[in-house]
């Protein structure tokens, strides 16, 4: 409707534009920040490289030129995959967090709450501990992808069980669902503990890599698989932004506004499980991004999902990139698990947000 905008009166047009402008500005700033951080991440590392070398290597990577020398190799085979991994996983986790919080209408709903992470953890630990005995066939069949695929399937399976428990006659009861989530998380945690108890030195060491999260392992095949599992759902999400907004008024109102709420909820939960499960499968457990990023953004720009979702994607990617840069430089040559860094950053940030909100509500 080209004529519609003209019908607006002057001052309101300005107001609308300023709100839209502010949101657009925020998105552009976040995108610019992400690009800068990507360049910084390519620049950061124990091997000293000049800006020119980094940019040259980036150009070589874009033009698919052959690898030329050590510095080119460092940027293209070590730093670039790791950077892309951080961007993909950070974006996926933050978007999944925004989606789960929207679907469950609860600011504390984390993808972890619906069992994705704990299910993935259980499956991964099971593969690590039982790879010589009970799950030998799986390792033989799946080869090097045995662990990531198992983690992904485990996450999805536990999510579906929790969703099933929380659903009666096609209606999802959020309270039941969250309680079922807590109970199932305890159960999967206990099973993981039993497996940990059975593990020997070497398996325990493998689990450390996995349970604290690390982006060190990202190679091109993993990145290719991840981009499918994360970028596709991300492209799919804007279609649900309006629905998520309507859901904030409750499922009944969303139904009145013409949305097929039950069906959409199932889709959204599956999409969140896919993004988190895929991320966890490749990089292990990285917490807090899904919780902190959407929360922080809601304070900044409000809960409108049409802006919140893209902003979460950008900020989530940036945050994980920063955490990973800290992880690989702080105690170099040792490589700190990025999940640990994330928790160290995320905990205080989240706490200060919470305190600010309490103060705001009182004042």
């Amino acid at each position: 409707m080209p004529g519609a905008a003209i019908r607006l009166q002057g001052p309101r047009l300005a107001l609308l534009q300023s709100a839209a402008l502010r949101q657009a500005l925020l998105i552009f700033t976040a995108a610019g920040l992400l690009v800068l951080l990507i360049l910084l991440s390519l620049r950061t590392g124990p091997v000293e490289l000049t800006n020119a070398q980094v940019l040259q290597s980036l150009w070589n990577a874009i033009t698919f030129a052959d690898i030329q020398g050590q510095s080119d190799w460092v940027v293209r085979e070590l730093r670039l995959p790791r950077t892309l991994l951080a961007v993909l996983i950070g974006a996926g986790l933050a978007a999944a967090g925004a989606v789960t919080q929207g679907v469950f209408r609860n600011p504390l709903a984390d993808p972890g709450l619906i069992g994705v992470a704990s299910g993935a953890a259980l499956a991964a630990v099971a593969v690590i501990v039982l790879k010589d005995s009970l799950l030998a066939f799986w390792v033989v069949v799946m080869g090097p992808l045995a662990l990531p695929i198992a983690a992904f399937l485990g996450g999805l399976a536990v999510t579906l069980v929790i969703y099933r428990l929380g659903t009666r006659n096609g209606q999802t009861q959020v309270a039941t669902l969250l309680l079922a989530g807590v109970a199932i998380n305890v159960l999967t945690g206990a099973l993981t503990g039993i497996l940990t108890y059975m593990a020997d030195d070497q398996a325990l060491r493998s689990m450390t890599f996995w349970s604290m999260g690390s982006l060190a392992h990202g190679r091109w095949p993993e990145i290719a698989a991840l981009s499918v599992c994360i970028i596709l759902p991300l492209c799919f999400l804007p279609r649900f932004a309006r629905l998520l907004n309507a859901l904030l008024l409750g499922e009944a109102v969303a139904t009145h506004l013409g949305y097929r709420v039950q069906q959409a909820k199932l889709w959204l939960i599956a999409v969140a499980a896919l993004m988190v499960g895929a991320g966890v499968a490749v990089a292990g457990m990285i917490g807090f991004i899904g919780l902190v990023v959407p929360h922080l953004l809601r304070l900044l720009i409000g809960p409108d999902h049409r802006v919140l979702l893209p902003a979460s994607v950008l900020l989530g990617a940036s945050l994980l990139l920063i955490a990973d840069m800290i992880a690989r430089t702080w105690l170099a040559p040792a490589d700190l698990p990025v999940g640990l860094v994330m928790a160290v950053i995320g905990g205080p940030v989240f706490l200060s947000l919470l305190l600010q909100q309490v103060k705001h509500n009182r004042g």
Binding site: M1, A4, A5, R7, L8, Q9, R12, L16, A20, R105, N106, P107, R242, N245, A246, L248, L249, G250, A252, V253, T255, H256, L257, G258, Y259, R260, R298, G302, P303, D304
Partner: protein, 267 residues
């Protein structure tokens, strides 16, 4: 128009088990521009009826027909462009501003950004224009109700046109929408809703305030134990015998209500 034919709802659907009948053989007709008040004691089935008509609850027997087409064949999006529903209470999970909440009413049309004039008119109609920058969660119960009214009014503020230029009918369903309002707002809001009906919108309001219904409605539907006790012109509310039956009132009290309603109808 809206036609409800032999509508029944049984809870605990599997036969044999103790199934509870919520609605039994309801018949109802609502024309365009008509104001129908649905009355009855608590648990009489008023809200269930509303939920069936607005598509929230689909596990019923019988048929509901909107504009010559059974509700089952309406897509949610089509229905939402013509029918707005205002629930009793809406709580927000995250802090939306008032104007954002009202803009959600335009979501079925997808023109939130291009219909600000319309949204403003709806907000002014519900007397919340001055609150537009406020956080919804920080408002009082009455103010929240008025914001929700503005949202549903915005949703069907103007009639959609179909391919051959015919204006599509509009329906407005209200579920005890004035419960938290002060008397002044109760009457002014119901008057606005009445004006809305004057544009040809079919309005169905579940009400618990008999006097308000008496002064506002054209017709009333009185439910008792899930069945239609009476359906007809608003003058039914002056029938003390009927009120006594509908609300299980003592006769003297019922007579006093009937007297009062008579006064409201003349006002």
């Amino acid at each position: 128009m809206l036609n409800v034919k032999h509508l029944s709802v049984n809870l605990g659907s599997s036969a044999g088990r103790s199934s509870k009948t919520l609605l039994n053989d309801i018949n109802l007709h609502l024309g365009y521009g008509e104001k129908l008040a649905v009355l009855g004691a608590n648990g009489a089935g008023k809200s269930t009826l509303l939920k069936c008509i607005c598509g929230e609850f689909s596990n019923y027997q019988g048929d509901i027909i909107l504009d010559h087409l059974s509700l089952k064949f309406w897509s949610g999006a089509e229905r939402a462009r013509q029918m707005a529903v205002m629930p009793q209470k809406v709580e927000l999970a995250f802090p939306f501003r008032v104007d954002q909440v009202v803009a959600l009413g335009r979501a079925p049309h997808g023109d939130e950004l291009h219909s600000t004039a319309l949204q403003r008119a709806a907000m002014q109609c519900a007397d919340v224009w001055h609150l537009r920058r406020r956080n919804y969660s920080g408002l009082s119960g009455g103010e929240q109700q008025r914001v929700q009214l503005a949202r549903v009014l915005a949703q069907i503020w103007r009639a959609e046109k179909n391919a051959d230029g015919r204006e599509l009918p509009r329906y407005l369903l209200l579920d005890e929408c004035t419960s938290a309002l002060d008397p002044a707002h109760q009457h002014s809001i119901m008057q606005r809703v009445g004006e809305f009906a004057g544009q040809g919108v079919a309005v169905l309001a579940v009400m618990h305030d008999i006097s308000l219904a008496a002064c506002w409605a054209d017709r009333v539907l009185i439910l008792r134990h899930g069945e239609v006790l009476a359906c007809g012109a608003v003058e039914l509310l002056a029938d003390a015998q009927l009120l006594a039956e509908a609300y299980a009132l003592d006769m003297p009290l019922a007579q006093r209500y009937a007297q009062q309603n008579m006064g409201w109808m003349q006002a």
